[in-house]
Symmetry: C2
Subunit: 145 residues, 2 copies
């Protein structure tokens, strides 16, 4: 039936799943389940939070979506897996998320007490002040903190 390029292998194609994927494809930043739900509704379609969670869980399991838990941000966010290895920096004042262009793990071998440990991957998050919030930068947003 063509056109299902990008559809995760071996998954039934249902309306809610298509909606979630569509929203994530258009997203320019990781989104929470609630945000995804709202975006679908804003697009004129019904959406239920529990269904969104179920779909996201499935997509994550299939590797089509990445789940990200930024510290200080109590809710999990999700992004399409575009298969670029990627990390984010988060502003501790405004909580905005900035993608990083490089990764420190490229040429690094962790040293563990358990030397049998089989490393499969890593998560990294950098935190600090973004340009607008940096107090040393006169960032007015920083006053909130």
């Amino acid at each position: 039936m063509g056109e299902d390029r990008g559809w995760p292998e071996g998954l039934k194609k249902t309306k809610p799943r298509e909606h979630v994927l569509e929203v994530l494809e258009k997203a320019d930043k990781p989104m929470s389940a609630m945000e995804i739900c709202s975006a679908i509704e804003k697009g004129g379609n019904a959406s239920w939070i529990s269904t969104v969670y179920r779909i996201l869980e499935l997509f994550v399991k299939k590797g089509a979506v990445n789940k990200i838990n930024m510290m200080g941000n109590e809710v999990a966010v999700f992004e399409l897996n575009r298969f670029h290895h990627k990390h984010y920096a988060v502003c501790i004042s405004c909580h905005k998320i900035f993608p990083m262009r490089n990764c420190p793990m490229e040429r690094f071998l962790p040293s563990l007490d358990d030397d049998e440990f089989h490393v499969l991957g890593h998560n990294l998050e950098v935190y600090g002040y973004c340009g607008r919030c940096d107090p040393e930068n006169g960032g007015e947003e920083a006053a909130k903190e």
Copy 2:
């Protein structure tokens, strides 16, 4: 009054705070608020979860304790800040936590779209299979997954 070596600067010394600190000092791994609460009760003292949370929050703010949010582990864990920069590897099968001896960020400069971003710190977590759980190692624990 001597003896308050290691007590966080400028904090009233109360029973509950002493208990929390004591538990964290003895801990050989990061602990959840609930685990800390149980440990105090096991020591024969009363302990309330809301108080433990309040104390931990305060200690974190004062820099005496680190809060760690490992992915896949839904609860936050806390450890005494021993002022060694440290990261952990977590087993995706048994969820045990292994301290890492080195850090990839030592000689690394993140490259961000916002080049005004002021980096203050980072969190890193490595995941994989520990020696006991590694399927390629005949790890029987891996069957659970």
